[in-house]
Symmetry: C2
Subunit: 293 residues, 2 copies
């Protein structure tokens, strides 16, 4: 199967799995359930589910098992977007070309949507059909990536950084937490779900995940600067306009592109020992960078 | 040990355990960590930790193990208070006699505090030193109680109910989800942590938990109507002022008091077969009702 067709197949199976793991909008409280579905089922890129499946394939996990991990990590991602878009945070009105959740519904509903999606992620993960000890390891990985020592902590640093001059190390630390932790967890969870990787191979995957997370953010900053709102499906130039530090503001556009290429090389070297089993991971790293050219 | 001294001892050990399981405010992001601590360590009543320990004592669990469950359920409770107090929800400025989190810090920080506390609850629970299958059961119990089919769903029904006329069954359904689910989960988690109760005894505990949750809400409605802001440590009369349905608005004050007494009898009967092991649970049920007289 071509890489593009494979990614599309993962997107489709993830949409099906999300649909199955979200509460029915015909059941009370209908408005909350409908809004949870609105936030999740809107044709996202599904990068994190794709990473779960790619790493899971490298670790010999079953796709049906990986769906639980993919849904869980995507729900955490979507909850963070819903809360991040709210007026007290980024105050964004457009997401994936559609009105954001608090615009389509209301702020109180958006708050509860994010809260309930986070919980639903852990409900889903707890149902993963694997050994209880593996399920616990999955829950730990996702929770550590999502909480104060991961994504939520990164958001807090991001908030505090508005209007500040960060150096490269501080910016990297913020992004490693804010977006990197969840990307890394997606890859780690795919690896854990195989239940057969050596600790060394899992560690190698984990380091790959860390580099890939950073790569994703550098590319995101480049796109925020170069692409139009129409192409992105979200408001372009938002970070620059709100005086948030980015890799482009720090390194310039060509510096950020060079850094992205350097991270791509690191990622490729880290994953090389896994050989052909990691082909999908190699393709994903290339695909992320391709968007900038 | 007297019941009052026992409750105080649980409050103190819970504060110590919360302190240990919360990120240090000396570590970045400091403001988020400090605000998480502000929200959690302010001398709450700790009803849910007390329920965990009382049920755990009945089930023969170790207090040191129960601390993990107590911290986790309290963090979920506190996160819900922080989000519930925000301007887009109840817009409350006073909680336990102190400024609410978004007043003391800011809305964006309060949003992240709630998000990160929810995650921290699952991190804590995943670390509980019990069999992996028991840990999974604990995580499932808490997640089901907190999510769209529990507390968050109850909040959504509550939002939709403002200005509406609910009947007794609808009001009960809302409260069973909004506050009851977490109280019930606290008792269930204590029971699970013993790793020795029969399914029948666990089921009995669970039914007790359901009745106790409802009892707690009826008493809360009575207090909201009869007590002063000074005594409550939160704004009194808030529900009536915002036209939210309560047991008092539905049944009148004497009707609500009679209903509370009826629920107390049910609770006492349900727990009677557990004999002296359930003494603390009996005392808690009495204590909840005592506040109304």
């Amino acid at each position: 199967m071509s890489f593009q067709a494979w990614m599309q197949a993962i997107r489709e199976r993830t949409a099906t799995a999300l649909d199955r793991r979200l509460p029915l909008s015909s059941h009370a409280p209908q408005r909350l359930h409908e809004a949870m579905r609105y936030a999740c089922l809107n044709g996202g890129k599904r990068l994190r589910p794709i990473l779960v499946h790619a790493a899971g394939e490298a670790a010999g996990a079953k796709p049906e098992t990986l769906d639980f991990c993919a849904v869980a990590v995507e729900m955490i991602h979507v909850y963070s977007l819903v809360h991040d878009d709210m007026p007290c945070m980024d105050d964004d009105t457009l997401r994936r070309g559609q009105p954001t959740c608090h615009v389509e519904y209301d702020e109180a509903t958006a708050l509860l949507v994010g809260d309930a999606l986070q919980t639903q992620a852990f409900i889903t993960l707890a149902d993963t059909p694997l050994q209880p000890a593996t399920v616990n390891a999955l829950i730990r990985s996702l929770a550590h990536a999502a909480g104060a020592g991961g994504m939520a902590g990164g958001q807090a640093i991001d908030l505090a950084a508005v209007g500040q001059q960060l150096d490269a190390a501080q910016l990297e630390q913020m992004h490693i937490l804010k977006t990197g932790a969840l990307i890394r967890a997606a890859i780690r969870m795919g690896g854990l779900a195989g239940e057969s990787l050596t600790p060394e191979a899992l560690e190698q995957l984990d380091r790959f995940g860390k580099v890939l997370g950073l790569l994703f953010q550098v590319v995101d900053d480049i796109l925020d600067c170069t692409a139009s709102t129409d192409v992105l499906g979200k408001t372009a130039g938002k970070d620059a306009a709100s005086d948030k530090p980015t890799y482009v503001s720090l390194m310039g556009l060509s510096g950020a592109r060079a850094f992205a290429n350097d991270l791509l090389s690191q990622a490729q070297q880290l994953i090389a020992p896994l050989n052909t089993r990691a082909n999908r991971l190699q393709e994903i790293a290339l695909e992320i960078v391709r968007r900038t050219h």
